[in-house]
Symmetry: C2
Subunit: 486 residues, 2 copies
């Protein structure tokens, strides 16, 4: 490994240029992917190698050939802020640098922009859509954001300010104000002309039609426009039944609508029906991934981060601890129950052999049921009206699995210790399974009805509650039949 | 509640028509959504009520106003196959019924089509895209699918057969063969004319350009076409750097590409570069949701179903049991360890008070780490090259949390029983946390490198292994310091 200060001239430049050579890279890719490494792994390694060698020219060439999204990925994965800044500065052209910026995560944006002047940042942002600008500025201190906005074209900055005034996770907060709309009495010919002139609305899928008060009244596809006589007014060809969302709708609900109606973009309206923006499907894709990640992390009590290696470890620990504390209290309660039954345990010590099984299995069975329900509620395959169907199904499955595991446990108990203990363990397990599946099914639906996020239910509460129930049932039964166990 | 047979004429028809009335429905919606019910809940309830009353005319009217995707949702949620068929039959127009069909899940498709003739099914499918037809036929017995295909237009059926020959979860299996491509020497004017005639490729976002051997060589946006002089050849305006995927690429990887490059559609090529289809972003949205669901269920060992209330309970139990059996064996091992240390436990019975804490906490801490890593690997925010950064971060967090929980436990132990036991418990917990976070971080990355799905790692193996480690450490320490605990 060469130190960073090493001069670039020790090898003929051609030899080093090859590292960034497309064919060689492709070949390396083929070799390495077979060894389980992904393309981005290898690109990242190449960039790091070039950085370490200080091979600036080659690195810059390589970046020139890369897609902004791939550069953003590399920047995100570099470990030091210094390296991130170095790579970012080497991207040529402020349009491309702006695009890279719009694909970065919050921390990288802060690090990369830390030393830049407000005017430089305004320059980078000038070609981006207002939604991307709003996204980027959302990670900077409010004061700084305002100063940067003040340096941009008034037209652009008002649009950005419009988006920034809505909460980040609502339709208003993720929409773009660059959409293409026309009055209902425009003709197809006029529409095509306007379309040819419209330079900012780069991705036009639908043409939205509005009335005199700017209220959304219809929608047209681009192809519809090309296939009618030029003098037709839009009013006569548009579809009047437009699916739209209001500015304050939660982004998760927006995503669900776009997904279920297979839309490319969904218009966003104010409460009075005025069209104020659109949300395109590529942003919805991001929302869906984010929400799925969030739900999974919530279920494990680790919601802090949408990605690793970002926030400080102390911060991460702080966010994860409450969940662990809940568990700590719960399992201490289980411990207290064991302590309460200590005489039973001391008398028939074989009982301890099955404590872990009883404690773990109820929680696990519950986790299966609640994961299924929570995910179903999130994707819409389970509705809260399905509650009884779902409930009886899960309880039935719980019973079936309880009997299967219970029989095995009884046999194990019989062989290992004695017949009666086996029966007690088996029976406890079956009861614990029934309690567990019922609770795990009901809890998320009840929470959802109460307006609480059901993803938290699968977490510590259900598991802990199930563990306690299991142990209580087991030791109560064991104490009741103590004479037969001795 | 009225019996199903009750004649429809007992009330004036207007009174009942209102149930399906848009304004009333909207009002009910507002009332009910405030009570935590969703729009689809209420629509479902209305449909069920109309079905029960046998109010066929009103139901049919209501269905006439609904979007095919919403009808599909209702059909999916109806509990009996008979009801599903009834509602499906009431949808007017085979084009709309075809669309409803394409939005249904596998079980509902089978139930709804069960009694239909092959020719009727072929008629329903005639207006659908080949990807949708392939999706639907994929759920019917192969023989039946072939006979239906034989009844369709040869042109359509070859396209469907082309898709059906690829595995369901690859690019080839989810692509549509209805895309719009032109030779590189066509002019912009010709392109526009061809576009106006192309009736099947309903959603044109990009125009793909091919060479004489049908190989994909470039791409154009619709707007680019409109803004150049009519005589320009496509060769001169197209973008040559097209992002494409090969037919055999896994659908999850396809989704990742579409998401990271913000594409609306991605072209699918054969190994020789021939363009054979495209995958549109709305299908990618489905893939992303499916894969997230699958990962979540895998982590809980309940992969059987992407939705509840579908497959039989016995089937579901069979799929979930292996995971529980792994857990059973694991926790019996923990039990065996307790049994091995039974003399220690009998001598100082206070030890049992902390067994649940030690057993549960290690597993939970591991679950947090591995969920984070698994999700990161799935979304691409964690690369396998990040392994050390991620590892040290998680271990550090584990240590911090271990110290926090360890101190609390020491205090609890001190107050509850005696000082030395508290220290043993605290120390065991910290060690268990360290082991647990290390394993939970390393396992998914190692599994991924070995080509195994990392989502299984968060499940039973890591948790069980962590539980065993925790208990072993605790009881070993307790036995070593037994003299001080008495």
């Amino acid at each position: 490994m060469q130190p960073i200060e090493r001069p670039v001239e020790t090898k003929p430049p051609e030899a080093r240029a090859r590292v960034a050579d497309k064919d060689l890279l492709r070949e390396t890719l083929r070799d390495q992917t077979e060894r389980g490494q992904t393309k981005s792994d290898i690109v990242l390694q190449s960039v790091q190698r070039l950085l370490r060698r200080g091979a600036i020219t080659n690195l810059s060439k390589m970046l020139g050939r890369m897609h902004p999204a791939d550069i953003a990925k590399v920047v995100t994965h570099l470990s030091s802020p210094k390296e991130k800044r170095e790579v970012f500065e080497l991207v040529r052209g402020e349009a491309k640098r702006g695009q890279v910026l719009s694909e970065l995560d919050g921390d990288s944006i802060q690090q990369v922009l830390a030393d830049l002047l407000h005017s430089d940042i305004a320059w980078l942002l000038k070609d981006l859509g207002p939604d991307d600008v709003a996204y980027i500025l959302g990670f900077l201190p409010e004061e700084r954001g305002k100063e940067i906005l003040a340096l941009m074209k008034t037209e652009d900055s008002t649009e950005v300010a419009d988006i920034l005034k809505y909460p980040k996770d609502t339709a208003g907060g993720i929409m773009t104000t660059e959409f293409f709309s026309l009055p209902e009495d425009a003709t197809a010919q006029e529409a095509i002309r306007r379309l040819q002139q419209a330079t900012d609305a780069e991705m036009v899928f639908y043409i939205y039609v509005t009335d005199k008060e700017d209220r959304l009244v219809g929608v047209l596809s681009l192809r519809q426009l090309l296939t009618v006589p030029p003098a037709t007014t839009l009013k006569n060809i548009m579809t009047r039944d437009v699916i739209s969302v209001t500015v304050d709708m939660d982004q998760e609900e927006v995503a669900r609508q776009v997904a279920s109606y297979n839309l490319l973009a969904i218009p966003v309206v104010e409460k009075d029906g005025r069209l104020v923006g659109i949300i395109t499907v590529d942003d919805v894709v991001d929302v869906i991934r984010e929400e799925a990640t969030e739900d999974m992390l919530k279920m494990a009590g680790a919601i802090e981060e949408d990605s690793v290696s970002k926030s400080s470890s102390v911060g991460a620990a702080k966010v994860r601890l409450p969940w662990l504390f809940t568990n700590l209290v719960g399992s201490l309660l289980s411990g207290a129950i064991l302590w309460y039954f200590r005489f039973t345990i001391q008398e028939v010590v074989a009982i301890v052999s099955f404590i872990p099984v009883i404690a773990a299995m109820g929680g696990n069975v519950g986790l299966q049921s609640s994961t299924l329900i929570i995910r179903g509620l999130a994707t819409g395959t389970v509705e809260s009206t399905d509650v009884w169907t779902v409930f009886f199904r899960e309880v039935k499955i719980g019973l079936l699995m309880g009997v299967a595991c219970g029989v095995i446990l009884t046999a194990v108990g019989w062989v290992w210790h004695q017949g009666f203990l086996g029966m007690v363990v088996g029976a406890s397990l079956i009861i614990a399974f029934l309690v567990s599946t019922s609770m795990a099914t009901i809890m998320p639906i009840v929470l959802k009805r109460m307006g609480v996020d059901p993803a938290v239910a699968a977490g510590p509460f259900v598991t802990t509650a199930n563990d306690i129930t299991g142990i209580t049932i087991y030791l109560t039964l064991a104490t009741l039949f103590l004479e037969h166990l001795r």
